[in-house]
């Protein structure tokens, strides 16, 4: 009896030994980095994504399931720039996993690989839930993806030297496909250049800069604060002076405010995927941008 118990304990111990899994365990905070980790890591990594495209990554709680996943993770891939400030530090601290603490090789921040825009001149919450480091929604510009991919491949190689060549090779292949796709997107999106838009939340700044869209106003009075009736009437007045083509919002955001605007003007309310999985079509990183551009083009025709 006691021997069988010992045997069972040994088997349990074996199951818990990280080496037994083989694959590098990755906890991605948002779907885009989950998708990227899969592109580069292939079958050598197992990826768990903490949020879905239908969730606002600012407003996530340190749920029990996230703490459990952080406990066994070899690598956390986060956006950084305070996007996950409300929950990720709590998750990594409660999980008690030394490998994934900030500063350790097991902690990777995508935002550190790109130049952030809209760094606030004045840090004051009267201006809303501002991000001191700059706008963290970097995934809406494909030019930001390539450097993150390179950084991630190098980090995977560092953590899993046995498969270093594999990661580098897959990153090179990804990079090539990515560049081809980018020139196609830019060609396709040419009619969007100079188009004026209103955004629900300041979450598509990078997309707008990439495609040359012009953001005339936002429906949120300040970032992170729900649209108010008073502010929406001001937005209406702005639109009268400066006609816009569409009101854009992420699919996870409430459509009430953009519908309100759309009903009073003849402009289109467009729901865009904020990341991979934001729409049924946005199945992977490539399809995400395909769908983004398709939806924007449909609105200007």
């Amino acid at each position: 009896m006691r021997v069988r118990l010992l045997h069972t304990l040994c088997v349990l111990l074996v199951m818990w030994t990280p080496c037994a899994f083989g694959a590098l365990s990755i906890l991605a905070t948002v779907p885009e980095w989950g998708a990227l980790a899969t592109e580069i890591g292939g079958d050598r990594v197992s990826v768990y994504v903490a949020t879905t495209a239908m969730q606002d990554p600012h407003h996530v709680e340190a749920r029990p399931s996230l703490i459990a996943r952080a406990r066994g993770a070899d690598l956390v891939v986060a956006t950084g720039a305070e996007l996950e400030a409300g929950w990720l530090p709590l998750v990594t601290q409660q999980a008690g996993n030394v490998r994934i603490q900030p500063g350790k090789p097991g902690y990777f921040e995508a935002a550190a690989r790109v130049t952030l825009v809209d760094k606030p001149v004045k840090l004051d919450r009267a201006g809303g839930d501002v991000h001191a480091a700059g706008d963290p929604h970097i995934q809406t510009d494909p030019r930001n993806i390539a450097p993150v991919a390179a950084g991630l491949a190098a980090r995977l190689a560092e953590l899993d030297p046995a498969n270093a060549a594999f990661y580098q090779e897959r990153q090179r292949a990804f990079d090539e496909r990515w560049r081809t796709a980018m020139s196609r997107w830019e060609r396709e999106a040419a009619p969007l250049r100079g188009v004026a838009v209103v955004a629900h939340h300041k979450g598509f700044t990078y997309l707008e800069r990439w495609l040359g869209l012009e953001e005339v106003a936002t429906l949120e009075p300040v970032p992170g604060v729900e649209p108010t009736a008073a502010h929406l009437s001001r937005v209406l007045a702005t639109i009268e002076r400066r006609p816009v083509k569409m009101v854009i919002r992420a699919t996870y955001q409430s459509d009430r405010a953009s519908q309100w605007i759309a009903e009073r003007t003849n402009i289109r309310a467009v729901a865009l995927p904020a990341t991979v999985g934001g729409t049924p079509a946005a199945k992977n990183l490539f399809a995400f941008y395909d769908d983004l551009i398709e939806r924007l083009l449909a609105a200007v025709q």
Binding site: P18, H59, E61, G96, V98, T115, N144, G151, A154, P161
Partner: protein, 464 residues
């Protein structure tokens, strides 16, 4: 037979570890040199690629339409060095600081000075607070990494009566092995669900009656805590604490050694993208010595009682949260309930101060229960309503010879509360709460509270 099975187990263990052991044990130096060469290669490749990128970008910029050229592109070259902190010199090492301001207006039909939960020994900070306008507790929190081993946390509470108290002051070992998170100093115990949350994060202005009756509002301790999350995909957390046990239901004993012991287990997870839950079971054991409280005796005198003995508490907690697609921004619902059970055994002294002229000590035995259940529904962004029901069962109390002066009551203290709050941003909240509280027989307290909570400074954590 037996040794063979053991050997099989050990062999299985050894075999499973083999791949790691082999890679670690094989010629270390060679591996290191290889790694260095690879790193060099990677670094150069990255640099060349970056140069190529810049060249390509320059080309496209030159050939592309002017619209793109006028909107500056985010630079996609390799990252700038991480030193982005603008704070210089000494200030660069300032800890994260956050402040919570609270204030309230209370209208109470009963005098809060007379507040007492009938049939239950009282301790800690309990009651609905004062009438009229008043400042509630202001909180000042500092946190930072201490060094490569420790992180520190200090939370100071400033009471409306201009008293300063150390609410929490603890160190956390950040580099402990095996996933253990040791915490030491003064901290809110990990018992139950709501106990670890600070008062400004609660969904109602006051603590559930069960928390008041069984833990004196909230249980804090000076001592040591160990928490451990199991390395499994399903969340299992175990925790244990030892402390001085000064706080209710214990009391200051003036002895060496451990005055309180707590152990708890939590588990939880997601059900689909929209649902999540957490459940827990906790145990607290403390020892009281001359723990004093007032209680009405059979004649109606206010008698001072003193209890010395063992106090064991068991708490079961359950929380379930729902948000459509896991997006709590629009609408969400939270159900929270906790059940308390306590057994106290020891000696009770009646009329401890001799004010009634009949001081007497005899054996005391009590088993008491209580629970609360509450639901909070966010029906549109920023707006929530909530309801809570509290009920306590004084249970069976064996007063021994003191039964001549004290009697067991059949009265069950209870309370109904309704809450309505508005959260214009993550950093502010305004609340209205109505309650009908019956904590003493034949006395109904109708309560109305207005409350504000403002937080500023470092971004707060979204605790589950």
């Amino acid at each position: 037979m037996a040794p063979a099975a053991v050997r099989r187990g050990i062999t299985a263990l050894a075999l499973s570890l083999l791949p790691c052991a082999a890679s670690a044990a094989s010629d270390d130096e060679l591996a290191q040199i290889r790694a260095e060469i690879r790193q060099l290669k990677e670094a150069y490749e990255a640099r060349i690629r970056a140069l190529e990128d810049r060249l390509k970008e320059a080309e496209t910029r030159a050939s592309a339409s002017p619209a793109i050229a006028t909107s500056p592109m985010p630079e996609t070259a390799p990252p700038a060095p991480a030193a982005t902190s603008t704070a210089s010199g000494i200030a660069a090492f300032n800890p994260a600081i956050s402040v919570v301001l609270q204030g309230r207006y209370a209208s109470l039909s009963q005098d809060p000075e007379q507040y007492r939960i009938a049939g239950f020994p009282s301790g800690g900070e309990i009651g609905p607070g004062r009438r009229g306008f008043s400042l509630a507790e202001s909180e000042l929190a500092f946190s930072a990494s201490v060094d490569h081993l420790f992180a520190g946390n200090l939370i100071i509470a400033l009471s409306p009566d201009n008293e300063v108290s150390v609410e929490e002051a603890y160190g956390v070992v950040t580099a402990a092995p095996f996933g253990v998170v040791p915490k030491f100093g003064r901290f809110f115990s990990g018992l139950g669900y709501q106990n670890e949350q600070h008062q400004h994060a609660w969904d109602f202005i006051d603590a559930p009656l069960a928390y008041e009756a069984f833990l004196g509002g909230q249980y804090a301790n000076d001592g040591l805590q160990l928490k451990w999350v199991a390395p499994t995909e399903h969340f299992v957390e175990l925790g244990a604490e030892i402390g001085n046990g000064d706080n209710f239901p214990g009391s200051r004993r003036g002895r060496n050694g451990v005055g309180s012991f707590a152990a708890y287990a939590h588990t939880g997870g997601d059900v689909g993208a929209s649902h999540s839950w957490r459940a827990g079971l906790s145990y607290l054991s403390t020892r009281a010595r001359d723990r004093e409280y007032f209680q009405l005796d059979t004649v109606g005198n206010d008698a001072l009682l003193g209890f010395s003995g063992d106090s064991d508490t068991v708490i079961a907690d359950f929380v379930w949260k729902y948000a459509p697609n896991g997006n709590a921004r629009g609408t969400n619902f939270k159900l929270q309930t906790e059940y308390f059970w306590r057994r106290e055994r020891g000696d009770l002294t009646y009329d401890r101060d001799g004010a009634l002229g009949s001081t007497q000590t005899d054996a005391y035995r009590a088993t008491q229960r209580g629970f609360y259940v509450q639901g909070v529904w966010q029906f549109m962004p920023a707006w929530r309503v909530g309801a809570r029901y509290d009920r306590l069962d004084p249970g069976s109390i064996d007063y021994g010879a003191n039964a001549a002066f004290l009697h067991t009551m059949s009265f069950h203290p209870n309370r109904y509360s309704l809450m309505f709050d508005w959260t214009p941003s993550e950093f502010s909240r305004l609340r209205l709460q109505l309650a009908r509280s019956k904590v003493r027989p034949d006395v109904t307290d109708d309560q109305l509270f207005l409350q504000y909570i403002l937080t500023f400074g470092a971004h707060g954590a979204h605790k589950y």
